[in-house]
Amino acid sequence: MEVLKIATAGSVDDGKSTLIGRLLYDTKSLTSDKLEAIENKSKQRGYDYLDFSLATDGLVAEREQGITIDVAHIYFSTQRKSYIIADTPGHVEYTRNMVTGASTSQAAIILIDARKGVIEQTNRHFFINNLLRVKDIIVAINKMDLVDFSEEKYNEIKASFETLMTKRDYQDQQITFIPVSALKGDNVVNESANMSWYKGQTLLEHLELLDSDDIYNRGTPRFPVQYVIRPKTEEFHDFRGYAGKVYGGDLSVGDAVVALPSQTKSKIKEIFFHDELYKTASRRSSVTITLEDDINVSRGDMLVKADDLPKIEKQFTATISWMDSKNLTNGNKYVLQHGVHKVLAKVDRINHKINPDYSGIDDTIDALGMNDIASVAFKLNKPIFFDAFKDHRTNGSFILIDTQSNNTVGAGFIQ
């Protein structure tokens, strides 16, 4: 079964939760007990419609305030695919949640209230999904019922979003516009009887037809070693297997590889998934690899093809999304986790802050606060083996960990 992870972005009251609720309802994914709970709660609150947002807002504080605080995950499936929706809140102060949600998604839905059009928030939602290189973007122009299902209004909003698109870095992103009414169910799962002027797909049709192989950003194969398997049993006495997930591309038996950082050469001898041997380890699969030669490889090392080395360096510049209330300043030290590899990193220089709404940069700052995005130069105590984020979404990203609180305080995308 194909699995598609989708991030959602919308401002408060754009109807994001309602849209997700509608997707669940129209795909018959809501069970009768959940539906009953929604019906009761809606009635209790005096609504004359079903408040589908009640299906997703999980925490007490969220139900009390009627807002979404944290990333929630919602699941539904069709005959064709399993869908995982990361429901991320849209307030200004929650940039960190949006970055988080987008980082694991291959597609994103950006919601726009048809009455309000493209607003400052929309710029941010698009900026983040573009920064994170989410391949497929659906711009859902919602609440069409409140603008009389007007084609003119839709075209107007589409045109102003297209202006925004000219500013993006990541040009390969696929962008689709769909006019919807989440509340009434137009063009979400079912076609709209009210907008015969719209000839495109409904939201679900679009998702169903996405080729999941295509929307995973490709790169060259990288195999970070997670764990060394040494059974030391009689049958597998000399077995030394490297367990990990393959990223970017495929690795096959017989491939000439180099282990990093030692730069020792060898060839792939076997590829295991559980007790079965395979000829090729496809990207995104969790396999165990053995090598022809007995070389020293441990957790955090990386196997790559001999003719396709990543950069091996102790300094680089990255775009940072800061996620902690304690500021990032020059000279601060953090644990940098790049995949499964950890090193110590020192902030060498904050180059400039990047306004996450395409309004330019600010090079006068000397500290990063929560939700800031900036270009920062780092120095490391040991080299890491990386690619630029634009070439490799996995091998070009890292997280920063506070050495005292142990919290994940930032995400980085190597330039």
């Binding site: 925490l59 699941y75 980082s103 000829k279 995104r284 969790s286 996995t394 997280i399």
Partner: protein, 301 residues
Amino acid sequence: MKGDTSTINPLENEAIYIIREVAAQFEKPVLLFSGGKDSITLVRLAQKAFYPAKIPFPLMHIDTGHNFPETIEFRDRLVKELGLELIVRNVQDSIDQGKVKEESGKYASRNSLQTTTLLDAIEELNFDACIGGARRDEEKARAKERIFSVRDDFGQWDEKNQRPELFDMLNGQIELGQNVRVFPISNWTELDVWSYIEKENIEIPSIYFAHTRATFLRDGLIWSSDDEVVYREEDEIVEERLVRFRTVGDMSCTAAVLSNATDIATVVKEIRNATISERGARIDDKRSEAAMEKRKQQGYF
């Protein structure tokens, strides 16, 4: 030799990756095993993650003493067959030590009492990571939980202060005294679990399949009649019904469903067409809309 690994379920790849991260990042992990289908699935995934080596951590069962006997038989057999270490800690001991008080009345259950026993066991045995079979699709508060979920010294979950999880990167750095709950099948749905059990031909306890059982009705749910464990009013009449269980929790809070699915393929078909959610048959969640969130804050698994 097979061709390529592209057809392997992405959820399976993800779970194996997570389980390997636990073994690599923690000193003393444990797999919380209830004998239910989710934890049985975890055991299979852990086997796959470390083949040809053995699973490098023990299993632990927090036994409420109110389990279905079929589950305990199954548990002991599985552990023996796979040569795994099993640790059992009993809720009864926590009751005897006066640490928790047995609930009384119509809805009495030992389900929430498990928390104390679990936290004591974590402290006693110095576990720094507990792998569990919880899934985000089960319940709304669970939908917000991270894959690596940090618990403080008191075992508590601070839902408003969770670590962001980006890409595949899992941050397991903790202080002494803290521990991490790990949920490798976070992104699986009930149907995903059942489909996997079918595909892998995994053995599960017999109570998951249709069988005749002495039961009574309450609040529209079907309860197993066991006078020692399940409180029953006099006017709640015991009748034999053909039923199966969708979850295997404490007997006192797990209701059965009418079913004639006697094999896994029929069960999968039944789940596919089910109109009631899995936890709809768990009375512990019906106590209030925020029941799960409250229990999790207190350290419940």
